[in-house]
Symmetry: C2
Subunit: 771 residues, 2 copies
């Protein structure tokens, strides 16, 4: 299904046009059924006993006082759980801690009770005897040879299947050898001779860039309801981006064939990469244990403390440039803090640091380091913003030193089709350059450097640019498009709709079938009823499932034409479908309404088979997306507060099947990027306790914090995506923090070395320690 | 998928073997979720105000007292309902009575309340002012020219789509002309010259045979929960045999496209033809009206009074036979009492009366007559048992007169492939003769006529034979067979499983795929997720959906082989699947486990598309099923009580995919036939009030009433059914009552002219009026 954006001129009817989201009204009117709304007969409620220690040995667990409490159904510990597999390096295998806890908030026991309040109270009655062990919280300290080990043992290879859903890379990680360390994984990308490259440079910047650990910010905390029937068949209702992945993991861990596990992914209250698979096997195991439905809903504070936030990173970067703006050397070491278990997309970060610009000499080393904190997960282009902050910030500093225009310099070095990634793989068709060009033509960028921008007062204004991208994940997918007996249509997919894709699928089906869009419904089935689809992550859902929908619609269309051809005694090639009516080409008076065809293949004694189109696809190559963003900020030099005044976000989206949804993705991703740049940071004390486990203390952006964002949709069609669409969801989060950093530099001449750029850090960068 | 039973010898692995029902354990352990178990947030409860009159004009409805009651949400009448269509002759269009009620129990208003008890109480507070109108209860009286009309008007053509789901006949009914009457429809089948035929006969029997109105006897009364979201999308959870039919009807009546109606058919607590579509549109309309979920569950007494029982019939039959046993003339008039709206499968009854035996001269007239009672519906081979009673009983009477053997006489006249039905249509391959031959060889039939059978006391014993069949319905169907990522399989169908078909589908999929049966799960989707299937009625589900499953499995198998061929670098033809492993033929060491193939088409970056097989079918011809049954009875000549001592039920099933399920069908259908013959009858008084609206008074059989039933599965393979299977569910109910009648005749020399053969009627037939 490869077409180019140019074909829009030919006149698409439904794709390429804005449609509001199918599920929008139910969401805004509060009638959407979320997992937490479920009530099953005889349902019980589970709450977790969590570790107060960053690292400790569990000496004993005494559930007797909790069990004695009226209404408590069970207290379950690791000793009660029978798993088919156990890899100590895999966080999700630690349904409950065995003999050791390795982060504050780690689940140690589960209390199941008749109601939530009883469960909550009984949690306090479970006595756990701990023997504290040495811990390490800072990733650089954790890399030291004499650092305490985060867990014992730490050396097993971990399962990275979930991570690969976000970005599908084929690289060989280096193996750990020798003495166990907290370094969970490492990678090195080398090209040319970096020392020689640096020697050729006319200017070199060498700096350390730090970025904080952030939460994905989904509004609905983790929640799962599991039910187990007398035959041992499991039904799991859960808030997940990847129902088939949950099925696979639960099946493997609990030793139940997938055909006996039904995962129902209800409407998701936000995910952003952090809602795929975490507590589901535990809740399933509890349901199997108590033989009643079990509901487990985390509180906000538990989710902030002990879910899977995005990693902090420390990037040491040395960047060399020639006088004419040619980038000649990148030397970097990226340290990602993975928390107590592997899970940081460090390889992606290391790759992307050297992935936006051509550079003959590079040496990039990545380390994934364990610390005694909650382990990390994906957040929209995981690990990318940390790397973008470093490379984009250093680039602007070099431009400033050499008196070069940041945009033209980026354009000069920007990668394009055929250029190599640090992995050695060549890029397919991409649109980084076109995104930069779009930004160059924006009013905001044109305003840069004009004198009037800076206020006379203590407020300093600046405009900054950054770019960044994401490769995207690859995973097969299927779809079914079926004709109802009244002539309307149902599209069935297995993917969770977190971005409005179902609305896009409806457009694709209408376009391919040639029927009015109102006559098409789109549903997500569960893992029993839906065609397989990979997780909704890695920006790939439109790219993969969208193609499967198009193919299913094509097959269904052909079935319709075959019925009509038989009824009208013509050949399929003589027919076309216009506005839901099958017509003989050139004979507008010879037509057959879809309703009649539908009746003829569903009614009693009908001669025709029901129209059920099936489509599937296995993507062979990625369709990376790049974004270029410009931020205008105002910095209060007295308080250090940074306010974003204006923002432009240009992105190559391949082909915007639904420009309104694409805009929503760009706006939302950009807003998250701004928040990562300015506000969001999980703060840990020296003992690994989270200092800001509530939304009063963990600062998420409000509508007041987000400026007007002008989104520009650049369309460089992908080779394989439906109608040329490429990945959209993740790129807009990548360059935001870096753009703000460069705007701050534009305003102040300096920029803090640590993201987010809080007032304290801004003042400190100005040489004025805060408060 | 046409194979013959002979191929069983070739060695099927899974089909043709007994398997217990997939859903059996949940049912017997009480954990099955039925519609009545559902609890939705904010759910309300509806109860119906029902007419106390058989016929009356509604003068006024005053809901004020009910509305004033605390907890009452709404009182809805016909005036509040907006329907897209209204055909006064279609009972299901009368969601609530408009200006007139035409049977006792007809819904007049619905009360919706916060709980069931409040709704129940408020029903009593709704004041309805009626003006009684003349009524007619007996169908023969209703046919009189001066009989009061059951409704005004009565003449519109009614929608027979549901009826056609049970038996698909193409005949032209005669149209009513002239003055309106209570005759809703009529048919006449003629062949040869019946007067001449009767003149050739050496013996003629002329009698009237009556059979009672019976309830289907499902244990779960009608129950529906409907929910309507803010966008107007409907979800209907309901106990139905035909979810797609419900969708179609609700969609048409309420004017909502099918793509916006989701019908979820939960496990059914019995149906037998009576649970397809009745109250669903009303409950949906109530949910739309109150904007909250609405649950309506009928009480047992409501279901007995005002659902859709099976019609009573009065058959006047004149049958002529030659001395040598050749049947030479059938002259019959069948009057089916349809209640207040059309719905009796009269045409099927009239057809079947002349459908079991070759006869050169026939004249069969059928009338469907309206009366002021609840209108009728299907019950397992609807209208067939009434006709079988007449023809089979008259046949035995002729044999007795002519001194012929009842079995040999039937064999002599029995229809076979190519013989014509009264419609003029030729039979496909059928097995009536083979079923009769099987009975002839049974111990029970061999025992007939031996002196020892009759007891010396007042107990008389007799053995009687009868035969009968059913044509079956035709409706297209689809199915999906998909490979899970762990190598197990899911089969997805849209049909309700009322007979164990899901278990059979599992066998079919295992057989076709070549994988262990334990690795296959079968699910029924809802109307959004499932491939289309016709209603589970007309004995066609195995016949149609079973074929679709086989085809879907074949397609999935081919997809698996294509992946394996690519991976193993061989061609598809080189491969076979044995026990779930793909092997190179002749090279047992070269194999690929299904688990590995599954992983290769679902994982991250996988090169292969997910395996999703789609199958569909549109049956072109029927596969009629015939049963021959022998009953041994003991009649207490003092009390008139008839006890069935022994029973043989032989039936041509084409090919028993699952002999255990087939046996269940034969045993269950036979038990119902026995009950129709001996116990079950809805009794109406002269004012159309039901005299036995509880299970204490309406006598359903208990385990004590049902004798040992020997079922004999005869296999005359059908042309189109999967592995040769043909219709199974309906035929066993057909001849039971007639077999008992003939056994009574064998014991007593006479037989009551009215079914069921209650003690009173038996005594009366002996010339001794009871009590």
């Amino acid at each position: 299904m490869t077409t180019t954006a140019d074909e829009r001129a030919v006149g698409y009817r439904y794709v390429g046009k804005p449609y509001t989201r199918i599920e929008g009204r139910a969401k805004v009117t509060g009638t959407t059924l979320y997992t937490g709304d479920l009530k099953l007969p005889r349902m019980t409620f589970a709450r977790l006993v969590r570790s107060p220690h960053a690292h400790a040995r569990i000496r004993a667990i005494d559930p007797s006082a909790a069990l004695a409490r009226r209404g408590v159904v069970a207290v379950v510990t690791a000793a009660n759980l029978r798993l088919e597999h156990f890899n100590p390096s895999n966080r999700t295998h630690h349904l409950l801690a065995r003999d050791e806890v390795s982060f504050v908030g780690q689940p140690v026991a589960a209390v199941v009770a008749e109601d939530e309040a009883t469960a909550e109270e009984a949690v306090e009655l479970v006595r756990v005897e701990y023997e504290p062990l040495p811990h390490v919280i800072d990733p650089l300290e954790a890399m030291e040879p004499d650092a305490p080990l985060v867990r014992e043992p730490v050396a097993e290879a971990s399962d990275r299947s979930e991570e690969r859903g976000h970005v599908t890379l084929s690289v060989n990680e280096q193996e750990n050898v020798g003495k166990p360390t907290n370094i969970a994984s490492q990678i090195r990308f080398q090209r040319g001779d970096v020392a020689a490259g640096l020697a050729q440079a006319d200017a070199v910047v060498e700096r350390r860039y730090r970025s904080g650990m952030v939460h994905q910010g989904y509004i609905e905390p983790h929640v799962t309801v599991a039910d187990c029937d007398p035959d041992g068949e499991l039904t799991i209702y859960t808030a997940t981006q990847g129902p088939f992945h949950v099925r696979n993991e639960v099946s493997k861990l609990l030793g139940i064939p997938e055909t006996r596990v039904r995962v129902v992914a209800l409407e998701l209250g936000g995910g952003f990469g952090g809602k795929i698979y975490l507590e589901q096997s535990l809740v399933a195991a509890l349901a199997m244990s108590v033989r009643r439905p079990v509901r487990m809903a985390w509180r906000r504070s538990e989710d902030l403390l002990a879910a899977t936030p995005a990693p902090q990173a420390v990037v040491d970067l040395k960047l060399g440039m020639k006088r004419d703006g040619e980038l000649c050397a990148i030397q970097a070491r990226l340290v990602y803090d993975s928390g107590a278990f592997p899970g940081a997309a460090m390889v992606a970060g290391a790759m992307l640091l050297g992935g936006s610009y051509r550079c003959p000499h590079l040496d990039i080393q990545g380390f994934e380091v364990l610390t005694n904190k909650a382990s990390v997960g994906a957040l929209r282009a995981p690990a990318a913003h940390n790397a973008a902050f470093a490379i984009e910030c250093a680039l602007d500093e070099l431009c400033a030193q050499l008196g070069l225009d940041p945009l033209e310099t980026r354009l000069r070095n920007a990668v394009g089709e055929g250029d190599l990634m640090p992995t050695g793989q060549a890029y397919p068709r991409i649109g980084l350059r076109q995104a930069l060009e779009a930004v160059r033509d924006s009013d905001l960028w044109r305003r840069r450097g004009r004198a009037g921008a800076r206020a006379a007062s203590a407020k300093a204004r600046g405009i900054g640019l950054a770019a960044g991208g994401w490769l995207g994940g690859l995973q097969p997918a299927g779809a079914v498009v079926a004709l109802n007996s009244d002539g309307t249509w149902n599209v069935l997919v297995g993917s969770a709709d977190i971005t409005g894709v179902n609305t896009n699928f409806r457009q694709i089906a209408a376009e391919v079938l040639g029927v009015p869009i109102e006559e098409i419904g789109v549903s997500q089935g569960d893992t029993r009823t839906a065609p397989y689809a990979g997780m909704s992550a890695g920006s790939k859902t439109m790219y993969t499932v969208g193609t499967a929908v198009a193919r299913a619609a094509e097959e269904a269309r052909h079935q319709v034409l075959e019925i009509a051809a038989d009824q009208m005694e013509v050949t399929v090639d003589d027919l076309e479908i216009i506005d839901g009516t099958v017509r003989v080409k050139g004979s507008p008076d010879r037509s057959l309404a879809m309703r009649r065809i539908a009746a003829s293949c569903t009614g009693f004694g009908s001669r025709y088979m029901p129209v059920i189109g099936r489509g599937a696809m296995a993507p062979r190559r990625q369709a990376p997306g790049f974004a270029a963003q410009v931020a205008e900020v105002e910095v209060d030099t007295e308080t250090g507060e940074v306010t974003v005044i204006d923002f432009v976000s240009a992105q190559d989206v391949g082909f915007a099947v639904n420009p309104l949804n694409v805009s929503g993705q760009i706006q939302g991703g950009t807003a998250q990027g701004i928040a990562i740049g300015l506000f969001e940071e999980l703060q840990w004390d020296a003992d690994g306790r989270l200092r800001n486990p509530t939304l009063l203390d963990y600062r998420m952006p409000t509508a007041l914090d987000v400026p007007n964002i002008t989104d520009i949709q650049v369309e460089v069609p992908s080779e394989e995506g439906p109608f040329g669409a490429r990945i959209v969801g993740e790129p807009p989060i990548v360059p935001g923090g870096a753009a703000i950093a460069n705007a701050i530099r534009d305003a102040l001449g300096v920029v803090p070395d640590t993201m987010p750029f809080t007032p304290e850090r801004v003042l400190r960068s100005l040489g004025r320690p805060a408060g």
